[in-house]
Structure formats: C-alpha cells, structure tokens
C-alpha cells in the first residue's frame, strides 16, 4: 500500500524570533532543517536568509527581520567518532552540551567551550567562539578539521585547513555569511575527567589583575575574572583560574537549574539593584577564595544553572558590550572604560575581564586577538547608548574591536576600521545569505 506524500510546509511560517538580548521579536519566515542532505533545495527556494541555531548571539547576527531563517537545531545528529584519534563528525545543529556530556565519560572533550553550553556547533564556528582557556588552545575554529558548506547557489563545498583554506578562513568567524554549515569534523582533546582544580583570588586594581593574569598563564588552563563594574578603575574583583585536576575529585555534582519563569515588567538590573548586588556578591565570594576541586560544568558555565536569565532585563531587553584591546594599551583603555561605566551608573551583575593569548586568528573576521577583553551587559536604556559611544572611542583609540556575536549597535565605521580583512572576506560571501548584522555593518 502506498502512503500519500506528506504535506510539505514551507514559507509563510512567520513567527516572532528574538536573539539572546531580547531587543525585539520581529516576525521571521522560519524554515526548519532536519535532513542534512536536503539543505540545498531548502536554501534554493528561499533567500536571502541566515542560519539560526539556538539564537544565543546577543544581537542581530542570527536575525533577519521579516525574512528567512533556516533553523538548524533539527540537524542534531552525530555522524562518526573515532575513539583512537578523537575525531568527531557531527551535524551543525548539535549542541555543545550534548558533545561534552557524551564524550567526557570517554575521556575526550571539546578543546574550546564558550561561557554557555547552549550553543550549536554551527554557531560556535560562525562566531569563532573562545573560552576561558584561549591562551592555551585558541578559538573553536582552530579545532575544526573540515566543514561542509551548502550555498544558496546549490553548491556543496567541503573546506578545512587543507582544503579550500581561503573559504574555510572566511567561514570560521564568518557570521554565517559564506553559506550554511551542515556538518563539521572536530578534533577533540584527551582529558582525564570532569574535575578541575580551581582557585579564586580576590584582587583590587587593574595592576593586580594584569599581574595575576601574567602569572597564571603558564600553569593555569582557564582564567577569567568577575569584576564589580560599579567600582571604577580602582576595580575590585575575583580572579578565577582552573586546570585539570590531577587525580583529586570533588563533591558529586548534580545539575540543579532554575528558570526565570516570567519577564518582569521592568529590568531587575537597575540603579537600585546594581551596587548592593555587586557588593554582596563580592563579599560572599571573597570568603570562598582558595583552591578547591570542582566539576567543570559549574566552573565553566555558571549562568547555565539559571535558564532564561536574559528575562531579568525586562521587556526592553539588553545589550552586551564585549571589547578586546591590545595588551600594550590595555591597562589605560580598561581603566578609562571602567571609569566611564562607573560614572554612567549602568552595568550588570556579571562583568567579565580576561586576557587573550597571542595566537594568529583562525578566521578572517575572528574577534579574539592578543589583549584584554571586557564584557558587560547593559539594560536597554538611553543612558547606555550614550555610554557606548564613549566606550567605542576608547576601544578604537586603543586599537581594539568589538565582538559581533554580542553586538546589536556598533556603528559601521567602527566595524570597518577595526576588522581589516573585510575586503578579503567579501569575495567569499554567499549573496543569498543576509542577516540584520550583515546589512547594518556590511551594507548587504
């Protein structure tokens, strides 16, 4: 008996989609991809559009208001794994958390994970994400051995460091604009287990921070600092460093995540809450300084235990401002930025300062470079946009740049001035790929 052909749904699936910053929820024509071998026809029928994974970029890199989004979370199958070499091939919609949870018991793990595990492999490549261990292993793209790109022209192209290397360099950190990544082959790293030996050190002042960073780079794989963004350039903070535990295991860890159940009518992060929270967090955490053995998940992904935390910023959403400035001028530039932020009275509970190692970038448009990176959230307010203009000036004067994955507002002139490979990148673009960010910063 022949079964009738299934109904094919396409187009007209308009529904509101927002990115992690929740600055808006414009309708998008969402096309669900579920078969990696049927991506080319799906792209041919609808464009321009952009690939959309878990929507964890903060601004408009994963959005295309009023247009097409190819949703990749249905491309979530593993393809092959070689337990001898640690090579993992998987579809682009596989979530990093699933890879870690599957592979760590087998003594392998992803070399690079960003601050959340709720990221797809495709998104991690397209934004060439970095982790707390950038000075040791670099960015995510450095561990991609091969990827398969489907273009709106109908072509399917494999590329990697040894195969179409120019297109590969454009695709790593290429914000989805060179085509849609359907699968990737990743080189995992052998690990001993899920335990980290972690140390928290309280510091005050930027000199202290940079001294701790320099001192930690050789012996500690992960380094990151929480800072009290209300404290200005005399900044107080907590320097956190960790390395694989040599034998010791910590207390058994069980995931206990909570969800912010509703979006409050106004931002919970505001002038009233900012100072008391930061002071309280600092004082409570300072009492827990010292060396401990901890599970990698709470150390590397502290915010993953609060699901939907982005709702705290209320219905108007928030911006994240993440910059990197070269190490040579980092002290002065960071000091000026922190003073400007403290004066504005804006900021967030989670402000992060860390140093990047000196490694050649994996992609033409990769964000990380040798220097100091500062990341803060700001509720969507008029005061914040004034502050951003000031911070832009400091970053540009110091020869730094901003992270497009976090950005929803940087001026095009700043982007063009700080990403020197833009012209080389343009030659590799897929003309059928377009996002809010590409139109804002590249004109198409």
């Amino acid at each position: 008996m022949q079964r009738p052909a299934p109904v094919v749904y396409s187009g007209a699936n308009m529904r509101p989609v927002s990115s992690w910053g929740r600055l808006g929820a414009a309708p998008h024509d969402v096309v669900e991809l579920t078969d990696r071998h049927a991506v080319a026809p799906a792209l041919a029928g609808h464009h321009p559009g952009i690939a959309h994974g878990l929507g964890r970029s903060y601004g408009d890199a994963c959005l295309n208001a009023g247009g097409v989004l190819w949703r990749t979370v249905g491309l979530d199958r593993f393809i092959a794994f070689d337990p001898d070499t640690g090579r993992l091939t998987c579809e682009a919609g596989v979530v990093l958390r699933d890879i870690s949870r599957l592979m760590i018991p087998r003594a392998w793990n992803l070399p690079v994970v960003p601050g959340t595990q709720w990221v797809t492999v495709g998104g991690a490549i397209a934004n060439d994400v970095h982790g707390k261990n950038h000075h040791v292993v670099g960015t995510f793209g450095e561990h991609v051995r091969r990827l398969r790109l489907v273009r709106t022209t109908g072509e399917t192209i494999d590329c990697g460091p040894d195969q179409n290397p120019e297109l590969f360099a454009a695709t790593v950190g290429g914000l989805g604009l060179t085509g849609l990544i359907t699968e990737a082959e990743l080189q995992l790293r052998p690990i001993g287990g899920p335990w980290l030996e972690a140390e928290t050190v309280a510091f005050s002042g930027l000199d202290d921070f940079f001294a701790l960073s320099d001192e930690s780079e050789a012996a500690w794989e992960h380094t990151v600092s929480w800072i009290d963004c209300t404290s200005g350039s005399s900044v107080r903070g907590l320097f956190m460093r960790a390395r694989p535990s040599s034998g010791g295991t910590g207390r058994p860890w069980h995931e206990r995540s909570r969800r912010i159940p509703i979006t409050p009518p106004v931002s919970m992060v505001n002038g009233l809450s900012l100072r008391p929270f930061n002071a309280l967090y600092y004082c409570l955490s300072r009492r827990r300084t010292g060396v401990r053995v901890v599970h990698y998940e709470p150390f590397l992904f502290p915010l993953d235990s609060i699901l939907d935390w982005n709702r705290l910023y209320g219905p108007k959403g928030f911006f994240q401002y993440q910059s990197v400035v070269p190490r040579a001028g980092a002290l002065g530039a960071t000091r000026d930025m922190l003073d400007a932020i403290a004066r504005s009275g804006e900021g967030s509970f989670l402000a992060v300062l860390k140093t990047f190692g000196a490694r050649p970038p994996a992609g033409l448009l990769s964000f990380p470079r040798e220097g100091a990176t500062l990341a803060l959230d700001f509720r969507n307010s008029r005061a914040a946009s004034g502050l951003f203009a000031r911070l832009d000036e400091i970053v540009q004067a110091a020869g730094g740049r901003l992270y497009p994955a976090k950005d929803a507002r940087m001026p095009r002139a700043l982007y063009e001035a700080t990403y020197p490979n833009l012209a080389a990148f343009a030659a590799h673009r897929d003309p059928g790929m377009s996002s809010g960010l590409s139109r804002r910063l590249m004109g198409s």
């Binding site: 009738p4 749904y9 699936n13 529904r15 669900e32 593993f78 393809i79 092959a80 794994f81 599957l102």
Partner: protein, 243 residues
C-alpha cells in the same frame, strides 16, 4: 538491552533511542525513510549503541509483520518493542476517503498488528515490554483530526485489553499519550504560536514510563488533567469550543 523500534524516524522514537543508546542498547529499527534511518543509526552508534540493525520496512502485510517479529526474536531476546509510527494529515474534515483509510491503517491497524506479533512470544517468554505511542487525540476527538484521533482511541482501548490479557504474565504494556509535540508533524501549530512540548521531554517521559512499567502516561503529565476535564465537557459546550 535489545530494543525493537517501529517508526524509528519519528522524532519521539528517535529521542527515546538516544536515551537508550547511552546505556549501550542493541537496536532493531524499522522505518519507511531508509536514508533518514541510516543517519539515525550512525548517530546512535556514536552515542553508544552496541549494535544497530535496520529492518526492511513493512507496515501493512500481516504475514510480513509476523515474519519480522519471529525473525527478530529468533535473533535473540527482545526487552522492549516501541511502536511509534503514525501520520496526521491536516484538514481531516475535507479528507478524501482513500486518505481516511490510510490514516486508519497507519495509526490503528498497523500498530495493533505489530503489538500482536510480539505479544504471544513475549507472553511465552514471560518477559518484555510493549510500548505504544498513542495520543491525547485518542481521548477526545475533534473536528481538525477526528479520523487520526479515532485511530488513536482504538490504540487506547486496544492497549487496555492487551494489558488485561497479559496481566500476571510478566509482560508489560505501556501506552504513552503525548500532547502536541514539536515535530515535523506539527510545524503548522508552532507557526500559529502554540507552545509545544519538545520531543526530548516526551522521550524522557516515555523511557521513564517503560523503565517503571507504568500502564498509561500522558506526556507532559499536565495533559492528564486537561483531558480529564475535556472528556467530561457536555456535548453542547464541547462542540462550540474553537478546538
């Protein structure tokens, strides 16, 4: 653990298999779309499945279904049979009669035949679990999907009787009734702004129910109470609801 899955490319079935794969299960999978099934087999292998074999798809011929069950059991004991295939066309108030027959064949007759083919040998071996994916649509049928719902309601009654038959035999019968779930079958509902359960959630509930041998589970559990109310609505009210 040896597991047979009929309709293994369904989103719920695939996610159940992912959970079992991590435990090192052996699989026998059957589905119509062989290209998709091969991708799933590779995925389950990476996730830890000890073995995955793919069966020739045959959903309607009773003799072939019986032969499949016997051959599979001859290859080794089976712990779980998950019967997960289904098909829900849109606009059932305007469905042609041939398609209506298809809906009944795929969603009611075929699942019953698979369950029957395994029930006898399981009873003889005094072990095994027969798990069937039903639907909340089988509790109360409505204009948009009453033929599908009618077929699923047959599964509800059938599973109840099968459970009666196998009571005390050591064989468990588990009926899972998912609410609307975010699968390719329900893309139109998501576009209309409905909040749907994810196949991961439904799969977790299914796997837990099979492990504990629960007879009937709603997935998510809230649907038990929703359907309890809807089942008791008087006809004049039910028929005026915009559902």
């Amino acid at each position: 653990m040896r597991i047979v899955v009929i309709g293994a490319t369904s989103a719920i079935a695939e996610h159940c298999c992912r959970l079992w794969a991590v435990e090192g299960a052996d699989f026998v999978l059957m589905a119509r779309d062989s290209a998709k099934l091969e991708k799933i087999a590779a995925d389950l292998t990476v996730r830890g499945a000890k073995s995955v074999s793919l069966a020739t798809p045959e959903f309607f011929d009773p003799a072939a279904i019986k032969a499949f069950a016997d051959a599979t059991l001859a290859g080794g004991a089976v712990d779980i049979v998950l019967i997960a295939h289904g098909w829900m066309p849109l606009g059932q108030d305007a469905l042609d009669i041939a398609s209506a027959e298809q809906v009944l064949q795929i969603n009611a007759v075929s699942p019953v035949l698979f369950a029957e083919a395994f029930a006898g040998p399981f009873a003889q071996a005094r072990r095994g679990t027969i798990a069937i994916i039903g639907s909340v649509a089988g509790d109360v049928t409505r204009r948009a999907n009453y033929i599908y719902g009618g077929a699923k309601s047959l599964l509800t009654r059938y599973a109840q009787g099968l459970d009666h038959r196998l009571f005390g035999s050591g064989v468990k019968v588990v009926l899972i009734k998912p609410g609307p779930t975010d699968t390719p079958m329900t893309t139109h509902m998501k576009a209309a702004g409905q909040r749907l359960a994810t196949p991961e959630q439904v799969a977790q509930i299914t796997v837990d129910a099979i492990r504990r041998g629960k007879t009937t589970v709603y997935a998510p559990g809230l649907w038990r109470w929703i359907m309890l109310i809807v089942r008791h609505l008087p006809r004049p009210i039910l028929n005026r609801l915009p559902i």
